[in-house]
């Protein structure tokens, strides 16, 4: 049992302690709630404005909508060809994220457990990409992808896995280090192969990291812009909604509606995945 109700310095008389306790709890929660409101504000405004006309938005974005009609949503849905781009984005994101998690957890496991010089060198090689701006590889990457016939939704999956695995390896690497080796050793003595060891013993222990990596990668790929713009223009949600706002066209009413349409699947995904991060509490207890 821990929590805000115990956030008080000990060693004072009980009456004052209780008062301070309540005061601290209320103040802390108020502050946090206030902060959360600031963070929520843009999202709230987006939702609010998605019901208004373009003129209303431009004149005063703060005003409440005068009507509650879904015409913006209908129009955005139609112009974006929502079902098709949603399917594309969903396939791209889910396959890429699954690929990243599988490929990088395996690699990170080997890089931690096989304590050779090669492992350290490879780890550095992987982390290296995190310091390279995408613009540096953009032109040759496109030429290569085109050459291999990868300019399609499915073709982008291996590219995302390749670009996403350094970050994931980096995170898995940090957490696998804290998983004790004893269990695997005893399993190995019982005759389990390293592969089985990994999938049956290590992988389940990694749930909180997998959750974190999944969330971060899903968000990255779902919201990514430049790579799909080069490779498969117009075929993901981000690209489809980008057409509403540009230098010479600013249809914010459609942009807002398309944003709500585009963001709601990831928000749902995030809310769903949160559970797994919380489950990590118990996983963390095992490690200690």
């Amino acid at each position: 049992m821990r929590g805000i109700d115990r956030w008080t310095p000990s060693g004072e008389n009980p009456g004052r302690r209780a008062a301070t306790k309540r005061w601290a709890a209320v103040a802390g929660q108020m502050l946090l709630a206030f902060f959360a409101l600031i963070f929520l504000f843009p999202g709230f405004l987006t939702l609010l404005n998605s019901f208004k006309t373009n003129t209303e938005i431009k004149m005063n974005p703060l005003q409440l909508p005068t009507r509650l009609s879904i015409t913006n949503y209908v129009e955005a849905w139609r112009e974006m060809e929502f079902p098709v781009v949603l399917a594309n984005t969903f396939i791209l994101t889910s396959l890429s994220t699954l690929g990243i998690i599988l490929v990088s957890s395996m690699a990170a496991y080997a890089l931690v457990r096989y304590k050779w010089r090669t492992s350290w060198v490879l780890f550095l090689l992987f982390t290296f990409s995190m310091v390279v701006p995408f613009q540096a590889i953009m032109v040759p990457l496109f030429a290569n992808a085109k050459n291999m016939g990868l300019l399609s939704v499915l073709g982008l999956v291996p590219i995302y896995v390749a670009l996403g695995c350094p970050m994931a390896i980096f995170m898995f690497h940090g957490f696998i280090k804290s998983v004790p080796e004893e269990i695997e050793e005893s399993a190995a003595i019982d005759g389990a192969s390293p592969l089985r060891c990994f999938f049956q013993i290590v992988l389940p222990l990694l749930t909180p990291v997998i959750g974190t990596v999944a969330i971060l990668d899903v968000l990255w790929i779902w919201n990514d812009f430049l790579l799909p713009l080069l490779m498969i223009p117009g075929r993901t949600l981000q690209l489809a909604q980008y057409r509403f706002v540009g230098i010479y066209r600013q249809e914010y009413h459609l942009a807002m509606a398309s944003l709500v349409l585009t963001a709601s699947p990831v928000v749902l995904f995030y809310l769903f995945m949160q559970r797994y991060i919380i489950n990590g509490i118990s996983a963390g207890a095992i490690k200690g």
Partner: protein, 442 residues
């Protein structure tokens, strides 16, 4: 025993190979190819292999010089004389087995190689010239002193001049005669401590005064340049994003009510697309910030736009780092914290001596990520200010993008990108070294 060694090697390869193969194909290879451009003067538009040749030039300078007939025949497959017979044109679509296909990169490279062997190449190798130019000729890149004139000769005369401007930026630059003239026009007001323009000046006097002010009232100011802004942005972003992320994580790692809801709120900025983030903030800066701060211009002011960019960036990033800190906090064994509490440690002591040291791995990750991400930050700044006003919020990555795509200096831009890689490697390398040492100490 050797059998076991080999099986260990095999398993290692089995585990690492998928990641390594993909990484090699889609990152290392393009990166190495990219490095090659940084030593050339390629402008990013000229095709790597010429799309057409004048007939005479092709027959004389290319086919004539090729001794190997296979190579000449190979070229003839792709360069075809056009209908009028004056020009050899590259056909990028060729017929093969009844189907039309585009020529492959491999074929392009072969053509490039053959042409290179006779000395034809559309890209010139210029060695380290690009890297030298970054420091020698790029006016926007490094911080430098620039003279800022405080009065514009086309504007009306200022009705008052502050003491600081008068005594520091104007008087020292004047001759004795000019000085007495200016002091006769601007009278010191003891009460308000400013110089006020005297009423009833003649047209000639006004004109002379305007000339003097526009030519002699100036100060030298340090213009941060692209490097200066990037450094400012990185330092602020690293400090505030980590601090806020950590504080939020600590606050949410308790049993307060609505914990899940709050956590989602803080993470929400990461879910929004940048167009809308940029739009929302632009009107927050225009409509709401002036009322809170009394300052009217934010994103349009060269002085405050960098601050505004940092605010939005921290707002967006801290939820992300909060998630990593939360994951780190959850690996801290519960009994350790409780044991400390039983021993009478205060909240602060528990934080300082139990939680923070155990958070170091998460801290290492977050610091590394904030450093690398701030130095690489593109989308957010691009959407919010586009690097402006002027060059006030142009980070190195935006500068690279502008060089490559607005100014047709692709080779030069790649050189800058390589330089940026080196900077990021140095900074993050140092950071990893320091934090890792700390981790081992504990």
């Amino acid at each position: 025993m050797t059998g076991k060694k080999w099986s260990r090697v095999l398993y290692f390869i089995l585990f690492v190979l998928p990641a390594l193969a993909l990484y090699g194909t889609f990152f290392i290879k393009p990166f190495v190819e990219g490095i090659q451009y940084s030593f050339t003067d390629w402008n990013g538009v000229v095709p790597e292999i010429p799309l057409s040749f004048e007939r005479g030039q092709f027959e004389r300078d290319v086919l004539g010089k090729l001794r190997d007939t296979h190579k000449a025949d190979y070229l003839r497959r792709f360069y075809v004389l056009d209908e009028e017979g004056g020009v050899y044109r590259l056909t990028t679509w060729i017929e093969e087995r009844g189907r039309e296909r585009q020529i492959t990169q491999w074929e392009r490279n072969r053509i490039k190689g053959i042409l290179k062997s006779v000395g034809i190449s559309s890209i010139r190798f210029i060695g380290l010239e690009n890297f030298k130019n970054i420091f020698r000729t790029d006016l926007r890149f490094l911080p430098r002193k620039e003279r800022v004139y405080l009065h514009n000769e086309f504007s009306d005369l200022p009705s008052s001049i502050g003491t600081r401007e008068m005594r520091r930026d104007l008087i020292p630059h004047l001759s004795n005669e000019e000085r007495s003239f200016v002091e006769s026009c601007y009278v010191f007001d003891e009460a308000a401590r400013i110089y006020r323009l005297r009423a009833g000046l003649e047209a000639g006097e006004r004109e002379r005064l305007g000339r003097i002010l526009s030519a002699k009232m100036y100060r030298d100011r340090l213009i941060p340049g692209v490097v200066g802004f990037t450094a400012f942005f990185t330092v602020c972003n690293v400090i505030f994003a980590n601090l806020l992320g950590l504080v939020l994580a600590l606050a949410l790692d308790t049993r307060i009510r609505l914990r899940n809801v709050l956590r989602s709120c803080f993470f929400l900025p990461n879910v929004l697309s940048l167009i809308v983030v940029a739009f929302m903030w632009s009107f927050v800066f225009r409509l709401i910030f002036p009322k809170l701060t009394g300052i009217d211009i934010w994103l349009g002011s060269p002085e405050l736009a960098p601050v505004a960019v940092v605010i939005v960036s921290v707002w967006q990033a801290c939820g992300y780092y909060m998630v990593i800190y939360l994951a780190g906090l959850q690996t801290i064994p519960q009994d350790l914290v409780e044991a400390a509490e039983v021993d009478g440690a205060s909240w602060w002591q528990r934080l300082r001596h139990v939680k923070l040291p155990l958070l170091l791995p998460a801290f290492t990750i977050c610091l590394f990520l904030t450093l690398a991400n701030s130095l690489k930050c593109f989308d957010l700044i691009y959407a919010l200010t586009g690097g402006g006003p002027g060059y006030a919020t142009t980070s190195i990555v935006i500068d690279i993008y502008n060089n490559a795509y607005l100014q047709n200096q692709f080779g030069y831009a790649t050189a800058k990108a390589i330089l940026l890689c080196l900077i990021i490697m140095a900074v993050t390398g140092l950071q990893l070294f320091l934090t890792k040492r700390k981790e081992i100490e504990l």
